[in-house]
């Protein structure tokens, strides 16, 4: 138990010491809008941003992540205060993932989770960026311990957390669907009731800002059409982030045989249909070392009748289905499902290690004939 706590602490120190990228070098408009909107919220100026030519404009993204940064934007000097907030949420990602593994598979699983997160670039890179991916992944993984040991408060927390995830990124509705699939029907009412306030709040805010509860910042900025199409699965015309936000630790070398590649190497040269499954298997080492998620997938499949296994499988499947047909290709979109697989892989590794240890000690204790 002490070892697990120490391993988690070591990773946290590593994440805390990650350099913060200057806001001007972070993905625009995402980071700039998040940071500036958090600053506006914290100072009672509403959910607006001034990053577009200095004029007051609504951000294109839902307000959840900016709201999560607001407590940090209330103290200190901008933008350092907001960047500290982003780092805090990256650290929360580590803590929640390690605790989830610990709850599911004991301290050894926690150690494995800490090691796998520690040797992978995602948490550390997230600490330097004002992006919502680590926090959405945190809320995705938070469901695992809540599903393992159910309680009334746990169901409320699950509903509340999912509502928050959706107002951070609308596609996080996947998590709520998966949660409803995984939990017994008697929990539906509580889960939905606790997710609903955030969604109703978002609808009211959009009504106030854009004139309709269904109009979003995307429609305001004229970028909401053509988000999804069947052709994006194989098309080369999707917009690709490549390795420019979250880079593969191997620089795409595992898949270098597919090259000649576009700028960014193999991480920016695959169609969605190939990219996302390979990413989830860690052919690009961003969330966990290569092939580790296979163990998580195996664990989830074997426990597909349990809430934890079913939730993981549904999140993975729906994420693949959704993002394969999405206009933008981004490594970070898989942060949630990839971390779920990492946690379950840690549990699997812990259980296999314990089994092996038991066999070895049993053999040593058995007297020779």
């Amino acid at each position: 138990m002490v070892l697990a706590a120490l391993a988690c602490l070591a990773v946290l120190v590593n994440v805390e010491r990650a350099p913060e990228r200057p806001l001007t070098q972070q993905p625009f408009p995402d980071s700039a809008e998040y940071a500036d909107a958090a600053h506006s919220l914290a100072h009672g100026k509403g959910y607006y941003t001034y990053v577009h030519s200095g004029s007051r404009q609504p951000p294109r993204y839902p307000p959840g992540y900016a709201m999560a940064l607001t407590p940090f934007a209330s103290v200190g000097s901008y933008p350092r205060d907001v960047q500290r907030g982003a780092k805090f949420w990256a650290m929360a990602y580590v803590v929640v993932a390690v605790l989830a593994a610990w709850f599911l598979g004991g301290p050894l699983a926690g150690i494995f989770a800490a090691l796998l997160i520690g040797v992978s670039p995602f948490a550390r890179d997230s600490a330097g960026l004002v992006l919502s991916d680590a926090l959405i992944a945190t809320l995705t993984v938070l469901m695992l311990p809540l599903l393992q040991k159910t309680s009334k408060s746990g169901t409320r927390l699950a509903g509340f957390g999912n509502g928050l995830a959706i107002i951070m990124r609308l596609t996080a509705a996947i998590n709520l669907i998966a949660l409803l699939v995984a939990t017994p029907r008697r929990s539906y009412k509580t889960t939905i009731a606790w997710a609903l306030p955030a969604l109703v709040g978002l609808a009211v805010l959009q009504w106030a800002m854009f004139g309709s509860p269904l109009r979003t910042g995307y429609s305001y900025w004229g970028v909401s059409s053509h988000f999804f199409a069947l052709s994006y699965a194989t098309s080369e015309s999707v917009v690709k982030e490549g390795p420019f936000i979250f880079a593969d630790k191997f620089n795409g070398h595992l898949l270098s045989w597919i090259c000649p590649c576009q700028v960014g190497g193999s991480q920016s040269s695959l169609p969605n249909l190939a990219f996302y499954p390979l990413l989830l298997l860690s052919a690009f080492w961003v969330f966990s070392p290569p092939l580790i998620p296979l163990a998580g997938l195996l664990y989830a499949w074997r426990r597909r009748r349990d809430a934890v296994g079913r939730y993981t499988l549904v999140v993975v499947a729906l994420s693949l289905i959704l993002f394969i047909f999405y206009q933008y290709q981004g490594t970070r979109f898989m942060a949630g499902p990839a971390t779920l697989l990492l946690v379950l892989a840690s549990v699997w590794l812990a259980k296999q290690s314990e089994l092996l240890w038991r066999r070895i000690t049993a053999r040593q204790l058995t007297p020779e004939p």
Binding site: A38, G54, K149, K152, F160
Partner: protein, 168 residues
Amino acid sequence: MSRTLGTQLAASILGLLIGTLLAPALATAVPKPRVILSVAPVPTVADPSPGTPVVTWSTGDGSPGLVTVSANGGRETPFAAEAEGSAAAPWLAPRQKYVFRLYATGSGHRLLAELDVGHSASTIVALPPHPRLTPPVVNRLLELLSLALVPAMAILAIMHAREVRRDA
């Protein structure tokens, strides 16, 4: 007649100047970028060969731009990627419906202008409208809710932990 129509069309399209893209609600001192997206001459049924159609565009402020075209409601394909310029579109044919779109790509992927080159050759300009401002009470409520989110999550997590421990 058709040439006149083409000229009128070209003139009207060339007159497509978008005043304020990000029209500030409060800051009136922000310079107004001048966005241009035009096609001329446009082939018509009566005059299918008025000359090589040329697409002209400008994001107005030197920021990177992307011009796309979709034919007959099909998928958008990139046409050009520069802040401003002109490029020939000799494949424009009468009786076909083309939609050109100009995006600013430096500030995310933002639609600046849309040009409908069809039978009627109508022109539509898509602009971010002036933002509605939420009342101060809503802004204050948002601030308070933002500050309450983390404590609310923490309280629920503690309640869950206590409940699980009690059941165990």
